[in-house]
């Protein structure tokens, strides 16, 4: 089942007089439950593409459908609502809320974005803490845990509202190699358990090789066929 479809998708930034073409007409489809990587050199358009998929930014031309919704047509408020209901985010800098504990950070979207009752929240958070391996740490503040642990909490927060899609722009860029690897493994495990679609971007070849579908970006275009994969579970749509 296709979760995301892009047709002739274009994004041009306008900074005063100059126009910067960041995405120059791409077509692709991503199946649900897939584990996808956007790779490519700096400036190739990975973040731009992820922002459009995540309804944080709108395309200049072309069509982008996410979960049967033409997200190019959403206004600010509808986009916020759509993100809150369907999409989880994991950031490069973790972006946990510093005044909240681990538990409260995972709880945040359940209170401020959706309206979950207390008992359901407690159950969900306990399950996620267990799944990301942070049980017993829930009372700690973000500044009391390591980078890898922060990203685990961030993954749990992205999954808290049972989002069908999690977007992670360079989630491992601020982690050492081993930790980075374990975060990707965690995301993959969550995909296996929950069926959530994960899309992440990275520069790191070893990390990207963990993906099952790889889109190679260069200069705003999906440039060439993916690198040979050990055992690709899902085929490439390009």
């Amino acid at each position: 089942m296709v979760l995301i479809r892009a047709e002739g998708l274009v994004k041009t930034y306008r900074a005063g007089e100059v126009e910067v073409p960041a995405v120059k007409g791409v077509d692709f489809a991503i199946d649900s439950k897939s584990f996808v990587a956007f790779v490519g050199p700096s400036g190739s358009g990975k973040t731009t593409l992820l922002n459009m998929i995540g309804c944080l930014d709108r395309s200049t031309a072309g069509k982008l459908t996410v979960m049967d919704t033409d997200v190019g047509k959403l206004d600010r408020r509808a986009a916020a609502d759509f993100r809150g209901r369907h999409i989880g985010f994991v950031f490069q800098d973790f972006n946990l809320i510093p005044v909240l504990t681990v538990y409260e950070n995972i709880e945040y979207p359940l209170i401020m974005v959706q309206d979950w009752p207390e008992s359901k929240r407690r159950e969900q958070i306990a399950r996620l803490l267990e799944a990301v391996g942070m049980s017993g740490q829930e009372k700690k503040r973000p500044d009391q845990i390591s980078g890898g642990q922060k990203q685990r909490v961030a993954v749990a927060r992205a999954l808290a509202t049972n989002a069908q899609l999690v977007l992670a722009d360079e989630p491992t860029a601020n982690l050492d190699h081993d930790t980075a690897y374990r975060i990707i493994e965690l995301m993959k495990k969550m995909r296996d358990e929950l069926g959530t679609t994960f899309i992440f971007s990275t520069h790191d070849p070893k990390i990207m090789s963990e993906a099952e579908v790889i889109f190679q970006l260069e200069d705003g275009r999906i440039h060439r066929q993916p690198l040979p994969q050990p055992q690709p579970k899902v085929a490439l749509h390009a």
């Binding site: 922002n51 759509f82 993100r83 985010f89 005044v99």
Partner: protein, 416 residues
């Protein structure tokens, strides 16, 4: 909502020093305003009391036009007995009135048989006068303090005349006055007491019995120049002024126009402008407080938003509705205001309580004994000022909070 409160409180705690500084500023502002209101309020009450209770009463009733020419104490503008009866009927029927005193006022020459000076004379019923202006007995100086305030045939001499003419209690003096028909009459009286001035060092108000005054002026009937009225509760002044004015408007002259006029003590005393000054100062200091709150809260909230741009980007990206973000920052401002207001009110109440224990006394006027200030604030005052501060805090947070709620998540996330 409880969670929003919790998050807001923790964010305030996170920047503890800044929060503390802002709350201290708000607190000090509130303390300044409440102490000012409390002490000046007490000062005002005492000052007003001095005027009303020693001379003016709270309200005065005259024949129309009397006050306009009060300097000459005109005898032709006295109220005839029928008119006086109507006024007294109205006063009798009013439960807010504690007492009243009819007076016959006139200008006279005062002589100790060797020297002569001018004097303003109040012919009064001693009992009624004492009930209407209870501070009058306390203004007596000199030997005699016991017995009735004033007996028929006696005169209470103003201190400045007693000193100037070297008159003592028990001396015989003479008053000479021009009557309404232009003839002159004199009457010898015994000095029953020396009375301090209520209106300043040069006040020359003497008191005699009202019947003595009528005899001296050869009045054929029981006419009256003014009726001073004392209310049970001075706070009801405006209401009772209007009430009495309404009731007496029915008393008309031959042309059918109102024949009487009612004045409050404030109309008759220059001190009322000082009271207005004090009230103006209070408004001014409240404006200062509002400015302090607005500026400091707005400043601290703008900083809070600026420092947390990435955090705002994060919560916005994950789908927090803009109005929630708005309420998050408004709540921070609200908490600052509530905290400052609570602390400020608490400190003020403690200080006001302390001022009432360690009496703050001051001496003023011709009063021989110092008066003690008893600062007090009403619940309404406290509620108004605390409410003002809280509302201002929220208003001051509005712009920064609005800005936060409208932030573009991509730009906010990219902010370093």
């Amino acid at each position: 909502m409880l969670k929003v409160l919790k998050i807001a409180a923790r964010n305030l705690a996170r920047f503890g020093r800044r929060t503390l500084l802002t709350s201290v500023l708000i607190t000090l502002g509130i303390v300044a305003v409440l102490l000012f209101v409390a002490t000046t309020g007490s000062f005002k009450t005492i000052m007003i009391g001095q005027f009303t209770d020693s001379m003016l009463g709270h309200l005065q009733v005259h024949r129309k036009g009397y006050v306009a020419s009060i300097d000459s104490l005109p005898l032709n503008l006295n109220m005839p007995p029928a008119m006086v009866a109507k006024v007294e009927d109205a006063l009798k029927g009013n439960s807010a009135v504690e007492a009243w005193s009819p007076r016959v006022k006139f200008g006279a020459m005062f002589s100790n048989f060797t020297e002569t000076t001018s004097v303003r004379v109040n012919g009064v019923d001693p009992a009624k006068e004492a009930a209407t202006t209870p501070l009058l007995p306390g203004r007596l100086v000199g030997e005699r303090k016991s017995g009735p305030l004033l007996r028929p045939g006696e005169i209470l001499v103003p201190e400045v005349i007693a000193r100037g003419l070297k008159v003592k209690v028990g001396d015989t003096v003479v008053l000479v006055a021009t009557n309404l028909d232009g003839s002159v009459n004199g009457k010898t009286l015994v000095v029953g007491g020396i009375v301090q001035s209520a209106t300043g060092p040069s006040g020359k108000d003497a008191y005699v019995d009202i019947e003595d005054a009528r005899t001296l002026l050869r009045m054929k009937d029981a006419q009256v120049s003014e009726i001073a009225v004392r209310l049970k509760d001075p706070a009801q002044l405006d209401k009772e002024y209007a009430q009495l004015g309404r009731e007496l408007s029915g008393v008309t002259n031959k042309e059918g126009k109102p024949a009487l006029e009612v004045h409050t003590w404030a109309d008759l005393s220059p001190f009322s402008s000082i009271v207005r000054m004090i009230d103006l100062l209070a408004v001014f200091i409240k404006v200062m407080l509002v400015s302090i709150v607005l500026i400091s809260v707005m400043n601290v909230m703008m900083m809070a938003v600026y420092e947390r741009i990435r955090e705002i980007g994060t919560i916005s990206a994950i789908g927090t509705p803009p109005r929630r973000i708005l309420s998050l920052f408004l709540t921070e401002g609200l908490l600052l205001g509530v905290g400052g207001a609570a602390l400020g009110t608490a400190i003020s109440l403690v200080v006001i309580y302390a001022l009432n224990i360690w009496k703050l006394s001051l001496k003023f006027g011709m009063q021989s004994s110092p008066v003690t200030l008893s600062p007090a604030v009403s619940v309404a005052d406290v509620a108004t000022i605390a409410g003002l501060v809280i509302v201002m805090s929220v208003l001051a947070s509005l712009q920064p909070a609005w800005k936060a709620s409208r932030m573009d998540p991509v730009r906010a996330l990219g902010h370093v």
